[in-house]
Symmetry: C2
Subunit: 131 residues, 2 copies
Amino acid sequence: MKTINLTTQRQAVYDVVRQSEDHPTAAEVMNRLVERGHSFAYGTVYNSLRYLADKELIRELKLGETASRYDARTDDHQHIVCEVCGRVDEVMTPVPEEWMTRVAEETEYEVHEAHVVLEGVCAECRSKRKR
Amino acid sequence: MKTINLTTQRQAVYDVVRQSEDHPTAAEVMNRLVERGHSFAYGTVYNSLRYLADKELIRELKLGETASRYDARTDDHQHIVCEVCGRVDEVMTPVPEEWMTRVAEETEYEVHEAHVVLEGVCAECRSKRKR
DNA sequence: AATAGATTTATACTTATTCTAAATTGAAAT
DNA sequence: ATTTCAATTTAGAATAAGTATAAATCTATT
Ligand SMILES: [Mn+2]
Ligand SMILES: [Mn+2]
Ligand SMILES: [Zn+2]
Ligand SMILES: [Zn+2]
């Protein structure tokens, strides 16, 4: 049931995701694997990412870009994307329970989760802009 | 600058989106155009949707599915997707300003907007399930 | 060692969308 | 009315991300 089989490939993919701070795409994971001397088939990287996400060791993020990103943080959190440089940062402030409750009332849905993608300008791009 | 040129094709695409309650995908828009007796090139439908979204007559939604959906409502609102039947409903209860402010403090971003996709089970699927 | 299930690999395929270059349209100027 | 020119549409090719397939390889158990 709960048994997790970490093959060489899966372990290497997992390591890359865990050691990345920037929510890499599958293509970025692949590049980093090559940098580390691995050469796995593309399909294997996709399979591994899917496997790790299924086992909840990582999360797949759909941020509205063309490619999914992957995140080794599996605790509840959201994301913010810089409109200027594209960086993706963590949002740890939780979505208010009370808002979710109100949405459940409004929509008559049983609400399971909320995926939030915020957009704005990061501190770095803001300071660059002022000048 | 602000001039909007609604060709026959763009007008027809706009009409379909406005008269749809269900946030159709580009392929669904195309089917509905054919039902109405139109036969536009695929590229034209995509171009029209992009044009209308640029002019802010409609909105493009990225809900984490493979295909974008389109929405004739351009006022501020969010969406909820049923995990069982896939239907997409409106969420009009606004995201709390206060939460956005806290996120701005936490991340040091200048926050411009929030895109929220909630997931859960709709009333209809819930009642079907209970039996 | 033999078997069998799981996994990896290379490659083909799919889906959504964008790009391209030629043809068409339509408004403005003659 | 005819010419002109930019904007638009069209058909089809191209791209990007991801999935499916089938053969080869690995691994645990007899
Ligand atoms: Mn994250
Ligand atoms: Mn909507
Ligand atoms: Zn930035
Ligand atoms: Zn439902």
